[in-house]
């Protein structure tokens, strides 16, 4: 499970329509959620496909513990 700053992810969803499809599938499977910490927006992703796609696009998330 990884946490990404929203500003690193949302521009990619605009740029890569196929990434948006992976995002939708992850959301449908409830494998991602939005989070706000200290006034900043984040996305927490549990879906390995989406994590892999983001990594391939050069975006690394911060590992987070599952609660």
């Amino acid at each position: 499970m990884k946490r990404y700053p929203a500003h690193k992810v949302t521009p990619l969803l605009v740029q890569y329509p196929d990434l948006m499809e992976v995002w939708k599938e992850a959301a449908q499977a409830e494998l991602l959620r939005a989070e706000t910490r200290d006034g900043k927006n984040y996305v927490v992703v549990k879906d390995p496909s989406l994590i892999a796609r983001l990594k391939a696009l050069g975006v690394e998330g911060e590992p987070v513990e599952e609660v």
Binding site: H7, V9, T10, P11, L13, M20, K24, A34, N41
Partner: protein
């Protein structure tokens, strides 16, 4: 007359500041079905609009990005206004808003708080700031 205009201007400034400091619907929408974005290099604004459509209704909407007071306030007020509206209604409101800030058309009360941005029509350099989120919304609804 001059005094009432300055009172109104002050009210409009407060509305813009309120939406800039505490923007509504700012964040990520995991259940988005559509996403679109835009940039305004002259001011450094960048925005992504995420929409969840249910049929032809905007069931939910969020925006993400960074921008000046005008672009952030415009995006915040836009999301408040179009949430729950039909796509056709939202596009009609977009037309009205852009007519107001681009052409200086008479403001339509249907725009609600967005009337606070009518003065942008006199500031050509800031028109793109005000319309950025609306262009993204239109693209997302296409």
């Amino acid at each position: 007359m001059g005094e009432s205009m300055s009172v109104l201007d002050e009210l409009y400034r407060e509305i813009i500041l309120k939406h800039y400091q505490s923007p509504k619907n700012f964040g990520v929408l995991p259940q988005a079905t559509k996403v679109a974005g835009g940039m305004n290099p002259s001011c450094g604004d960048q925005v992504e609009v995420m929409v969840r459509l249910e049929g032809d209704t905007i069931a939910d909407i969020r925006f993400q990005g960074q921008g000046c007071a005008i672009s952030t306030a415009s995006a915040s007020m836009m999301t408040e206004l179009v949430k729950g509206k039909k796509v056709a209604e939202a596009l009609e409101l977009s037309k009205k808003f852009q007519a107001m800030v681009v052409e200086g058309a008479p403001p339509d009360p249907a725009l609600g708080d967005l009337l606070a941005l009518q003065g942008v029509a006199k500031l050509p350099a800031r028109v793109k700031c005000a319309t950025l989120a609306w262009h993204a919304l239109e693209e997302a609804l296409r």
